[in-house]
């Protein structure tokens, strides 16, 4: 397929394929065979059984059985790729970091940017045959990617920190200090007056 045709095809199909679908495509076999893959890297606290469960829609499909060998080839090409590993580590760190609720939008945007970077990395390395496999399994893969995206959204939302309102100092204390100061000045003045009276009286006597 010529380069122009491929670009055109990509632009038509990208609307139907979410960026996360590419991640699901390359990690399909690892997740189903209960091997540690990239999605397990994003959810380090989840067991391999839970991650496999997310892929039920794929491995229950007839298309999966037909495409298993091709999926194995795709998976082996991308597994343990140093550049991808770094990208997924960044995604995990960003996803697990707490953030102030006021910065929710920018935080979500950062996560989305990394996911898009990963999907571009994968997309550029897929063959025409791989694209066909993706098209055949698109509805199943999209279903899985939606589930995973929702899980990420929920986790990210739970890590938002609500900013506390600044505590105002009670007005009474301020008044009390003012009263205290006044009293002290009063006492001092009283002492001074007494002293002046005494000295004047002594002088007169």
């Amino acid at each position: 397929m010529s380069k122009n045709k491929k670009v055109l095809k990509e632009s038509i199909t990208t609307s139907a394929i979410s960026p996360f679908s590419y991640i699901v495509l390359i990690d399909c076999i690892s997740a189903i065979d209960k091997n540690r893959g990239y999605i397990q890297m994003i959810f380090p606290n989840e067991s391999l059984d839970v991650i496999r469960g997310m892929f039920r829609k794929v491995f229950d499909s007839q298309n999966y059985a037909k495409s298993k060998e091709s999926l194995q080839s795709i998976s082996s090409r991308f597994s343990n790729n140093p550049a991808l590993k770094v990208l997924f580590q960044s995604l995990r760190k960003l996803k697990s970091a707490s953030y102030p609720m006021a910065e929710k939008e920018s935080h979500e945007k950062d996560i989305q940017t990394i996911i898009e970077k990963i999907s571009t990395f994968i997309k550029r390395r897929l063959t025409d045959e791989d694209d066909k496999i993706l098209e055949n399994l698109l509805s199943e893969i999209n279903h899985v990617s939606e589930r995973i995206s929702k899980k990420i959204d929920d986790e990210v939302l739970s890590l938002g920190i609500k900013e506390e309102e600044p505590i105002e100092e009670p007005k009474d204390t301020k008044q009390k200090t003012e009263v205290k100061v006044n009293e002290r000045i009063k006492n001092k003045l009283r002492k001074k007056i007494k002293e002046i009276i005494r000295t004047h009286l002594i002088k007169r006597h």
Partner: protein, 108 residues
């Protein structure tokens, strides 16, 4: 006298550079091919050499060949017109897996 000194220095430097170069794993197409074949043979027993420095790996499935290539240090780079390009960072050698007939070549 001066010329003789220069000549001996040049000879010494040339010898040193030559020794250094022989230490580095320089690979031309021929020796690189032999090395790759030997290394791959350790991973996949049932492979053979075809004419024009081509390795026949068709007895194995594509994912098995990829895993074997990865074990000997080749990382997948990109597709190139029916071939998959793998690159070894340590030796700076590229190999190409032809998907159609499952053979490995050193030429793109």
């Amino acid at each position: 006298m001066k010329n003789k000194n220069y000549q001996s220095i040049i000879e010494e430097v040339t010898l040193r550079v030559f020794k250094k170069l022989t230490e580095i794993n320089l690979v031309d197409e021929g020796t690189g091919f032999d090395t790759i074949f030997t290394e791959l043979k350790k991973q996949l027993n049932d492979i053979s050499i075809m004419p024009d420095n081509v390795i026949d790996v068709s007895k194995y499935k594509e994912h098995e060949i990829i895993e074997a290539l990865k074990r000997i240090g080749y990382i997948y780079r990109k597709p190139m017109g029916g071939k998959l390009h793998f690159f070894n960072k340590k030796t700076s050698i590229s190999v190409y897996l032809v998907q159609k007939n499952l053979t490995i070549t050193l030429l793109p």
